[in-house]
Amino acid sequence: MFTKTHVALKALISAALLATLSSFATSVPTPAASTPAPQASQATANSALPTATLPLRKKSNSTADHSKFKELKQSFKVLSEVTIACLSCHTEAASQVQHTKHWTWESADPKTGQIRGKKNIINNYCTSPISNEKDCMACHAGVGWADSSFDFKSAKNVDCLVCHDSTGTYRKLPGDSGHPIYERKEFPPGSGKFVEAVDLNKVAQSVAMPSRTNCGSCHFFGAGANGAKHGDLDTSLQHPGKYLDVHMNEKGLNFSCADCHSTSSHEVSGSRYNVAAAVTGKAHIRGKLDDSPAACQSCHSNKPHPPSMDKLNEHTDKIACQTCHIPEYARNDIGTEMSWDWSQATVMGPNGKPTARKDSAGRRAFDSKKGAWVWESYVIPEYRWYNGVSTYKVIGDKIDPTKVVQINVVGGSPNAPDSRIWPTKVHRGKQPYDMVNNVLTVQHTAGEDDTALWQNYDWGKAITTGMKAAGLPFSGKYGFVSTEMTWPITHMVAPKGDALTCAQCHSTHGRLKDIKGVYMPSRDSNPWIDWLGWLAVAATAAGVMLHAFLRMWAHKRNLKEQKNG
């Protein structure tokens, strides 16, 4: 009896989790179960890897049962109390976390030293968190970041649970500056839907190593909707089949995020801000200090194909693994956003009131608060030479409004030893900018005050507040400029049978038709050589045909002459 209730409860909780996740994602369709690959062999993509069926990962292999710790057997009211309890044993954890991007939202360009990161750039989705911290910091690995006065040094502001919750009940809502839900409340306000308070004790007593759910609670929902931002990260990766992700396949290798993004001292490897774009050499061995454990090559080496396919191994000095092995991203019905047009924000419905619309697949298409979106599924990437480092527009950088503003420019050049051809998602948009100072603006979108865009639908006020918070001058004149942001694609690796075939690139209209700097047979040729060559062939053919005709004609004439003569 108990077990039955227990199972039912569990099912209920997971259903509730799914529902809440979707509601956070402003109602996206329930993630479609990804199509499982045909039940062929469980063989892995690489013959060098063991092909035996691997046992499914056990729930926990920890030597500690946190529910037995007296430090955690207290009635926690707020998160900082939990954090203090954690730190009483894990003495270095907070300072470790505080050195990571998950905490600082900053990252330095390894080549130029430019300080980037979510805090300093203006991205192509929600733009900037500045002046909107109460909402945005629902995805900060801390609590209390409400404005620029946030104390980045305080250990008790670290949020251990957002990454280590194993119950699936821990939840942080926009508007709470990164605090979990302490009391049952209506969300979104006025919706009539209520969310339960997080049981901090229960969550604290069942902490575990981060699962896909932990990482996904933020990374699947970037830009505020399931799948919206990345295109290769969404809730379909909770329970993926082989077709969607050959490594995360729940019935196969069943990788967690951290199996590739191996982590040391809370520093998670493999960041979009500094991608290991051109790893060479052999597969890495255990114990070896590793600069790029998240790269494909760290397990597969840069010559992963068997000797019979050596030509493919020879491609690895020009082409990233991802280019062939992620033939499409967003390979599901969830899809991903391809554009966000902020210039449509503040456009009201027919009755003069804010309105919202969904597309035929139930994904957000328009909202008076945020503008218009275009979604796509099964998207063919755009390809770029890439060396792993992008140069970003940071807040206050000048722009040229006569051109499409590149939010980031992926570094790399043809044939540079550090560059490979990578698949990317190019996200296009329109953003407000200061027409006098020629900078992208920071706008105060979220909030309850009079100047917040989502309260009063007044761009002028929202930008004035946002720019003030960012410490930038604002001329008062704003317009909208076209923007592009480029995202290297690296997740949703397909099984080998779904990889690109040669002719998908080796043809005049193939995937890489716009890639410069590399000669590709079947795509490229020298028109002069071709023209002269075929001319010579035609002339030769015509010459021998003429000669043959003359021979026949002469022969007949000679016969006739012989008769007559």
């Binding site: 079947s522 010579a536 062939v537």
Partner: protein, 210 residues
């Protein structure tokens, strides 16, 4: 039908064993491989779609290795039999051959060249084979092998200055020359006393003495 009218009838009964067994095997297997390589090569180049890019590449590469192996045996054969001397060029009586092809052949003039075991190739043929061996072959094989081993360029410091594009251009140019040679070769094979005479000889080894 094509007995020469203004020359005395030939002794058609006289035949010479011109092409030895290995020579004929070499010729025809090379012919098949060259045709396969041209067909697959121009597909890889993007001139048309026949087998599909991947199959064309594999076929082209495998044929190349087969042809290279065949050549290894053939070079050995040429030197042990002394047949390599057949390819020594000469300018003697080239003008007579040119005149024959451009004029005499239409007047049923006799072929100024007579095949013998010592001289299987006429002077023009020798020049043509010299061009094939000294120009087209090195161009095609040199560029082809560089192409095939592109990923090893760095080991021998070729990558610092050599561009794949140039190699591909050279290979394509060589391929066109080869195709031109092939067309002329096929045509000239029909130019014996009967259109099929030379071809028959290359199959049976026996050539009618003329």
């Amino acid at each position: 039908m094509d007995k020469a009218i203004d020359t005395p009838p030939q002794d058609v009964g006289t035949r010479i064993y011109l092409y030895k067994r290995y020579e004929r095997f070499w010729h025809w297997s090379q012919a098949v491989l060259v045709i396969i390589m041209m067909l697959s090569g121009f597909e890889v180049h993007g001139s048309y779609h026949l087998l599909g890019f991947e199959s064309a590449v594999n076929l082209h590469t495998q044929s190349a290795w087969l042809l290279l192996s065949l050549w290894a045996f053939t070079i050995f054969w040429q030197f042990t039999t002394g047949e390599w001397r057949q390819y020594l060029p000469t300018l003697k009586r080239v003008d007579a051959m040119v005149r024959y092809y451009a004029w005499g052949i239409f007047r049923d003039a006799p072929n100024p060249f007579h095949k013998t075991l010592q001289h299987k190739h006429n002077p023009l043929q020798r020049l043509a084979y010299l061009a094939l061996l000294a120009m087209i072959s090195p161009l095609v094989w040199g560029s082809g092998l560089l192409y095939l081993f592109r990923s090893n360029w760095a080991r021998v410091s070729l990558d610092s200055w050599l561009q794949l594009e140039w190699v591909a251009w050279a290979h394509t140019a060589g391929a066109f020359m080869m195709l031109v040679f092939f067309i002329v070769h096929i045509y000239l094979a029909t130019i014996g006393h009967k259109p099929t005479a030379h071809i028959k000889a290359m199959i049976t080894g026996w050539e009618d003495a003329d």
